[in-house]
Structure formats: structure tokens, C-alpha cells
Amino acid sequence: MRIFRKIRVKARSQCATSVLVAVLSSFMLTSLVHAGQAHEHGVVTLDAVVEEKLLDVMLITPAVNVVGFEHAAETEAQKAEVIQAINSLKQGYQIIQLPRAALCLLKEADVIQSLLESQHEHEHEEEHGHADIRVHYQFVCAKPEQLTEIAVGLFDQFSMVESVRYQVVSPAGQKGGTLFSSRDEILIRQ
């Protein structure tokens, strides 16, 4: 009680709700803090922007989530695995599932990875660095106002993916949160 009062006095001119937040956040902050670009196995970050007719999506995932290892592919089997992962990541319509009514066409699907590289490039690479795979999708939507939600199809295809941390910027505002296999839809507008 005393602690509460102390905080109250400090923030007298703030709103009562802010006091509540201050109290809550003082002990819950640590659990929610995560560095901007952390490399966390099992976690994929997804950033999506809707502007005019464009929908731009960037996925960043630790390589281990999609191929099971993070070093450069050495054996033929590993190379085949990487190629297969790249091919499935390029299936934009499966990974980023959009409402039919928005009439979106996939214009671009680029997979940027460092696991399959020629020997020369490989020499310059960091020795024991974690490897990320980045996937960039660009859709052009005829009816972007119909983009009410985005379903993420990563969970079915890559069993290592546990959660997707997303940030979305759209005319409806900024949204953020975490998706799990049980709830894999981002609601852009209610």
C-alpha cells in the first residue's frame, strides 16, 4: 500500500490509470521486453505494411525454424532441404493468406538466405553467426479496403515455428502482437 502511495504522489498530476500502468509495468515490464532484432529460435517476426494498393510483407526467421540447422549447407541432403524450404517459402499465397475479396496478386517473393552460397562468399561469412532467412513478399491488391485480416500459413508447413511476432501498419492504424498455431490470423480491422 505504501509503495502504491509513493508512486501516486510522484505521478499526482498524471491520470489514475497511468498510476495503474506504472505499478503493473514496474513488475511486468521485464517479461515483455525484447530487443529489436533478437534471434530467437521458434520465433518468426512479420512486418506488414498496407499502403494504397500495395501490401508489403517481410518475414525474418532464424534458419533453424525452416531447415533445422543454421550453418551453410554441406551435404547434398542439406542442400536439397534448403532448396525445398526456399521453394515453399516462395509460395506467397500459402504463407500469407489474404481475403479473396481483396483480390491480391503476388508480385514478388524473394528469399534472402546465406545457407546456399558459393565457396568464395562463404569465406567472408561470420564464423559461428546465427543465420536468418528473410522473405519479402509484395502483393498488389485491387480492393485493399477488403484486407480485413491476414492469416499466416507458416505453422502448418514448418513445425519448428512456435510463434510469429507481428507488426502491421495499415490505414486502420498500427497493430502488433503474437500469433500461435491456435490463432494464426492478424485482424487488421474489426
Binding site: 498524471q14 491520470c15 503493473l24 521486453v33 532484432q37 505494411v49 497493430k175 502482437g177
Partner: protein, 418 residues
């Protein structure tokens, strides 16, 4: 016919029923007030910032950054260098960048050092720009712009003189009394932390600390206001940066660039995303409030059940006579369900009126004391299912006493021992 009987019967016991109506009214009023305050608090949080694409600050928690830069709660973990501000400001994708420097206060209100761009770019609510109630943005080095609450509570007008204090405590010992400011403008009320802020230019923050070292004045060193004006007042540090992007498409690209910036540990957050995180935290308290008000309603209904059951003893004769003159069991049940429905409906109605009245009365207090801005005290459509639920639960409460009354046989009430 049956309803007339029920009404007349209820009327004859109006004194007892009045209190149970009152109990239900109070619990419903509480329920509605909690719902109202809950949604208004959420709205006021979401209203606090809009139109800003990114907030940049020292690396740390995302929530912490938005708490200190927008809500002025707590302290920044670190300052950021002015070079970083200029670098970000010169980025080709950035439409505007507004510096925020915190750390000083005026009579308990935070002082925000910023640029005049703040007043053109900062938006609250649904893309509402800040408006001046009186006066204009700062022009002179020692000009200040104050929020609506500051003006009201301290009785300031355009032209008022004010002295800032070092630090954020209201009883700060170090006063910047050698460099007074005058109010150049008063902002219109927004229902956000802007109302409780004093804005001065970033250069003025440097000016008031000129001749200071480690948070106190260097003894014997007196620099006059005129001398300060002549100096080059280049800020070295700032607390946070608000950014607007030319195209939203580059938002995340810049965010990643800032987060990976090697020269200084910086972080960029999307205010909308951080607000959502904040809201998830508050949801715990929010749910606790809902549970408490739900329990109060439940207590009211149980009270009604108790009253109805007790009344059965006194109404034995009434029931027996009704059964004797040919009332069927369902008549008896209807009688009691009708009564409980009537009582809970009147209680709910009264509760709604009570809550609207209370909120109207409390509105100015909530706004001045807690900064909670209630936009409308009226009932929203969202409350309708809740209220219907209360009445329905009230109606259902009548079922059990009804069944009990029917169980008591006709003979029971007609025997002489009563």
C-alpha cells in the same frame, strides 16, 4: 388478470421490495460505471498518440519508451545524442522528426523540450492535430506553450511568467529562477498527457542549464539572460524522437536500421504496437474490475432470491387461496417469476439512471483529478446485452421460489395453525 394480481401482491409488499430494487439498482449502477470507465480508459490510452509512425529512444523496453516519451511516466533509461537525431532527420524516408527532451518540471507538470514541429505534427485521437486555445507556438527562446490542464490548474494565461524547476519532483530544490519563461500559447484540451505538459524549445532546455553542472548551479557563476541569448545553444542530447515517414512502406526498414545502429544503442518502436502491449497489461486489472462488479450484481440477485424465499412464508395464505380458487401450478410460478422480473427490471432501469447521474456528477472530478476524460456519459449499445442479462438472470431467480411455492400444497396454507 394474473398480472394484475401479481402487481397488487407486489404492491402490498412494496417496502421490502423497494430495498431489493435499490440493491439491484446500486449493483447495476456499479456494473455500468465500471464498464464505462473501462472503455473510456482504453480509449484515452489509444487517443494519446496518432499520426506518429515511429518513436525512437535509448535501447530498452518498448513499453518503457512509450511510457516516458508519451505518458511522461518514469524516466528514460538513457539519453540519445543529438548527432543521432540529425542523422535520422536527414534520412531520405523521414518526412519529419520532432525531438523530445524531458527532465525538468514546473509545479509538478513535466516540461517537454521540443521543436515547433511538435505542434504541427503531433496528433491525438483520430488524426486530430493540436489546436491553440489562445496564443501561438513559441517564437522566442524564453517562450513556453502550456497544456489546457496546466493553464486551468495554475490559472495561467498568455503572458504569464513561469519558473521551471530542475528534476521532476514538485518540491524540487533547484529552481531555474534566473531564467523565467513567459507563456506564448495555451493548447486546447485533448484528454491526453499533452494537457499536463509545459512545452519549451530544445534550445531553451540548453539555455536554462547553461552555467549548471551535474544538476546544480555552479556557485559564483552568473550568466545573464542576455549573455545566454548570444550563445550558440546547440543541444547535445535528447530523450526521444517522434518520426513521421514519407511512405509507410519504409517504416519497418527504418525501424530495423535504427535497431541495428552500431554507433549508439537506439531502438525504434511503433507507438500503436506499444500501446497494444500496454493495453494487454492493463487487461489484468480490467478483468479484475469486471469480476468484482459482476459479483456485486450476483450478490444483488441472491439478495432478491432470499427476499422472495422468505416472503413465501408470509404468503402461504395467499398462495393457498389462489390454489383453492383454481390457480394452476404454472400460475403460481408465473406469479413469482413476474415479480422477480419486475423487481430486476425496475432495479436495472434505476441503476442505469443512477450511473448516468453519477458519471455526470463525477465527470469534472475525474477530469481534473485523474485526467480521465469521459466523452459521453450516455449509455452505449454495448451495455444492452449486459443489462438484458441482468434482467434475465433476475427473471430466472424467480423460478426457484415459484417451484417452492407450488410445492407447498393448498392444504398447507388453509390449515388452522397458521
Amino acid at each position: 388478470m394474473l398480472f394484475n394480481v401479481a402487481l397488487a401482491s407486489s404492491w402490498s409488499r412494496r417496502h421490502t421490495l423497494f430495498f431489493i430494487v435499490l440493491t439491484i439498482a446500486l449493483s447495476v449502477a456499479l456494473l455500468i460505471a465500471v464498464e464505462k470507465i473501462r472503455t473510456e480508459v482504453r480509449d484515452s490510452f489509444n487517443r494519446s498518440v496518432s499520426g506518429t509512425d515511429l518513436i525512437v529512444g535509448a535501447r530498452g523496453g518498448e513499453l518503457q519508451l512509450i511510457l516516458y516519451s508519451i505518458f511522461h511516466i518514469g524516466q528514460a533509461s538513457n539519453n540519445i545524442s543529438w548527432e543521432s537525431f540529425e542523422l535520422i532527420n536527414s534520412n531520405k524516408n523521414v518526412a519529419w522528426a520532432v525531438p523530445i527532451s524531458l527532465g525538468d518540471s514546473h509545479k509538478g507538470f513535466r516540461v517537454v523540450g521540443t521543436s515547433s514541429g511538435f505542434f504541427t505534427h503531433y496528433q491525438t485521437g483520430q488524426q486530430q492535430s493540436l489546436l491553440f486555445q489562445k496564443g501561438k507556438a513559441f517564437n522566442d527562446l524564453f517562450d513556453a506553450v502550456i497544456g489546457a490542464d496546466v493553464a486551468r490548474q495554475l490559472g495561467y494565461q498568455v503572458g504569464s511568467r513561469l519558473t521551471l524547476s530542475h528534476g521532476v519532483g514538485s518540491a524540487s530544490f533547484s529552481q531555474h529562477d534566473d531564467r523565467p519563461f513567459s507563456v506564448a500559447g495555451v493548447l486546447r484540451s485533448t484528454g491526453t498527457p499533452v494537457d499536463q505538459s509545459v512545452f519549451i524549445s530544445s534550445e531553451a532546455i540548453v539555455a536554462i542549464h547553461d552555467g549548471w553542472q551535474s544538476g546544480s548551479r555552479i556557485p559564483g557563476q552568473q550568466i545573464s539572460v542576455e549573455e545566454v541569448r548570444k550563445k550558440v545553444l546547440q543541444p547535445k542530447e535528447l530523450t526521444a524522437i517522434l518520426l513521421g515517414m514519407k511512405s509507410k512502406l519504409s517504416t519497418f526498414h527504418l525501424q530495423r536500421q535504427i535497431n541495428n545502429y552500431k554507433a549508439e544503442p537506439l531502438q525504434a518502436v511503433l507507438p500503436g504496437v506499444a500501446l497494444q502491449q500496454l493495453w494487454q497489461l492493463i487487461r489484468v486489472a480490467e478483468n479484475a474490475l469486471r469480476i468484482v462488479s459482476g459479483c456485486v450484481v450476483l450478490a444483488g440477485l441472491i439478495g432478491m432470491l432470499a427476499v422472495l424465499l422468505t416472503s413465501l412464508g408470509a404468503r402461504r395464505k395467499e398462495m393457498a387461496i389462489m390454489r383453492a380458487i383454481g390457480a394452476r401450478p404454472w400460475h403460481i410460478i408465473t406469479l413469482l417469476v413476474f415479480e422477480s422480473t419486475l423487481v430486476s427490471a425496475i432495479g436495472t432501469l434505476l441503476g442505469v439512471l443512477l450511473s448516468v447521474g453519477l458519471l455526470m456528477l463525477a465527470q469534472p472530478v475525474l477530469e481534473t483529478q485523474f485526467g480521465l476524460f469521459i466523452q459521453s456519459t450516455g449509455l452505449s449499445l454495448d451495455d444492452a446485452p449486459l443489462l438484458a442479462g441482468v434482467v434475465l438472470a433476475g427473471a430466472a431467480t424467480g423460478l426457484w421460489p415459484g417451484y417452492r411455492a407450488y410445492q407447498m400444497t393448498a392444504a398447507d396454507g388453509l390449515t388452522l395453525r397458521c
